[in-house]
Symmetry: C2
Subunit: 317 residues, 2 copies
C-alpha cells in the first residue's frame, strides 16, 4: 500500500492548496497520502495509521470542556480516521503540550480521556510525549489493523449513491452557542465533547459493499468534495434529505459544520431502506441516502430540485 | 511486544512523575510504555512507533532556525527514537500547527525539512495533519521495522559499561548563545538545527552486543537515569571521560544539555578501544566509555575519583 506514489486528490480550499503544495515539493518523498489513513503491508498483514492534531484556541477553548473531555474528543477524532477505512484500532500514541501552570492532575485527566476513547474501540495507549507549551496541544497518532482491503476515498463511480451515518449539525450548534457566549443544549454539547468513532459502522458499510468512505471531520460538503476529487466524480446532494440533529436550527449547520465524525459512504445503487432500517436497529443511529454521483466534478446542493449555494465551512487558512 | 503490561521505569523528575501518574490512572489501558518506542508484533514482523512534539517557545524560537531546519530537527528527534531501539525507519506522519499569518511557503519549507530528514534515513512521509494554531507546532510520529529484537532501556546489568556516541554539549552551547541574545558559533548551531539520528550507529551497537540503549533527548545525566531506572542498576559516570563538543565551554554543558540525539549504550565488559576506533572510522564520530553500572540506583558523577554534584537539566515542569 505504501508503494502508492501519487497522493489521492483533495477537494477545493486554501488549506488543501497548502497540502497540495507540500506534496508537490516533496515529490517521491511522499507515499500514499491524501486518504484518511496511511497504509503499510507487512508480513501478510495490513496496518493503517493516522494523526489528528487538536489545539486550544483553534479546536476548542479550555472553558468549554473538562480535560477528560478534551482527551476523549482528540483521541476519537483520530480513531475516526481508522473507522473511515474500516480498520480495527490497535493502539494510540498521544503527544501532549500544556502550559506550565496547568495542574498536573489535569494532564492525567486528559490522558484518562484518551485512554477511555481508545478502550471504547478496543485499543490501548502505547506511549506519547509530554512537553510544556504556550497552549494546550493534543496530537493523537492511531494504529489499526485491516481485516480486508481498506475502503478508500477514491473508489466512487458515476451513478453511486451517497449515504451518511447519524444526524448532522450538533457540533456546529454547540460551537454557535459557545461563540455567542451561551451554553449549548445538552444534546449538542454531547455531540461536540463526546464524539464516537464509527468503527463498527465502518465495518458494516464495508461488508455491505461501500466503494468509497470518508469521515466527516471538515464537514459534509467539504468532505463530499474530497470524496469527489479522489474518485473523479461529482456529487449532487439533496439538502432536504440530510438528517438534522435536533439541536441544529438550520440545514446549513448540517452541511457546513465540521467535527461530526460520522461516516460518508458511496454505494452502487442497491442499498435500500431495509438496509437502513437494519443499520439503525443495530447501531442506534440512522443511515440516510443524501445524494448521487455524476461525471461533473465538485459538490452541488439541490433543494426542491433547485440548486442552492454551498454554505461556507470552517477554514484553517 | 504489546502485551507487556508494566511500563518501563523512568528516572527522577517532576515531568516523569507526571507520566507515572498517567500510567497509574490508566492501568491496563496502557501497554508497554516507557521505552524509546512502542512495539507491535504482527505477521511475524516487529514494528516500532514513537512520537515527538516540538513547539515554538519551548523547543525553539522562530528566529533561531529556518522553517526547513525546524522540520528537519523535529523529524530527526522522532527518528532518533527508532535509532535507539535499532529499528529501520519506514515512514513518518507529521502534524503541523502554524499561525494564520505564517506564509504558506514556510509550511511547505517546514515539510521539506521533515521529508529530507526522513529520506536521509530511508523513510518517506506517509501523511499528517495541518491546522491553524497560536504558535508553531510540529509533532512527528515515526514507524520503523525491527530486523531483530529491539534493544530496550531495561537490559543493563551490574558490571556493564556505559558508552556514548559523538561529542556532547553542542546543542546546549547553541541554546546558551541564543538565550544570551548572541549568535551561536557555526558548529554549535549545526548540532542544534541539524541533528542526525544515529540509525546506522544503533545497528552497530546492537550487532556488537549492546544490552541496553537510549537516545540522548533529555541529556546525558537524565537519560542515564532512565537507563538506570529501567534496568534496576545505577551508573557511575567519569566526568572527565565525557567527550566534549568543541563549542561546549564546560563539562556541565555535556552532562545536562538535552537534544543531543546521540546514543547511550550499556555493554558487558569486552567492548574495547579497537571497537571504538572501528566505530569512529566507520561513522566519523567517536564512541567513548564514560561509566560503569553497579547495584546502587541512580546516577553518580566522579571527577578525579571524587563525587561531584549533578548539574540541573532542562525541566518541562
Amino acid at each position: 500500500m505504501t508503494g502508492v506514489r501519487v497522493p489521492a486528490q483533495l477537494g477545493p480550499g486554501e488549506e488543501f492548496d497548502r497540502i497540495r503544495a507540500i506534496w508537490g515539493r516533496l515529490g517521491d518523498r511522499v507515499a500514499g497520502a491524501g486518504e484518511d489513513c496511511a497504509f503499510l503491508e507487512i508480513g501478510g498483514e495490513r496496518l493503517a495509521f493516522s494523526v489528528d492534531l487538536s489545539t486550544e484556541g483553534t479546536h476548542f477553548q479550555i472553558g468549554w470542556m473538562t480535560p477528560v473531555e478534551i482527551g476523549w474528543r482528540a483521541a476519537s477524532a483520530a480513531l475516526s480516521d481508522l473507522a473511515a477505512v474500516a480498520a480495527d484500532p490497535l493502539g494510540v500514541l498521544a503527544s501532549v503540550g500544556v502550559p506550565a501552570e496547568w495542574p498536573a492532575e489535569h494532564v492525567t485527566d486528559l490522558m484518562e480521556g484518551v485512554g477511555a476513547a481508545a478502550a471504547a474501540v478496543g485499543a490501548r495507549v502505547w506511549g506519547g510525549d509530554l512537553v510544556r507549551a504556550a497552549c494546550v496541544i493534543l496530537d493523537v497518532c492511531v494504529v489499526g489493523r485491516l481485516a480486508a482491503a481498506p475502503v478508500l476515498r477514491s473508489g466512487a463511480k458515476p451513478g453511486d449513491e451517497l449515504w451518511v451515518t447519524g444526524r448532522l449539525g450538533g457540533p456546529f450548534a454547540a460551537l454557535a452557542a459557545w461563540n455567542a457566549r451561551a451554553e449549548p443544549d445538552r444534546a449538542a454539547r454531547e455531540r461536540f465533547v463526546h464524539p464516537v468513532p464509527r468503527v463498527r459502522e465502518g465495518h458494516w458499510l464495508r461488508d455491505h459493499g461501500a466503494r468509497a468512505l470518508i469521515d466527516l471531520s471538515d464537514g459534509l460538503v467539504p468532505d463530499a468534495g474530497h470524496l469527489a476529487a479522489a474518485s473523479h466524480v461529482g456529487w449532487t446532494i439533496d439538502v432536504d434529505a440530510v438528517p438534522l440533529h435536533p439541536s441544529a436550527e438550520t440545514a446549513d449547520m448540517a452541511l457546513a459544520g465540521g467535527e461530526e465524525y460520522e461516516l460518508l459512504a458511496a454505494f452502487p445503487p442497491g442499498l435500500d431502506d431495509n438496509d437502513a432500517v437494519e443499520f439503525a436497529a443495530r447501531f442506534g443511529i440512522p443511515l440516510t441516502r443524501v445524494g448521487r454521483a455524476d461525471q461533473a466534478q465538485g459538490v452541488r446542493l439541490l433543494r426542491d430540485e433547485t440548486r442552492v449555494w454551498v454554505p461556507e465551512s470552517y477554514r484553517h487558512f
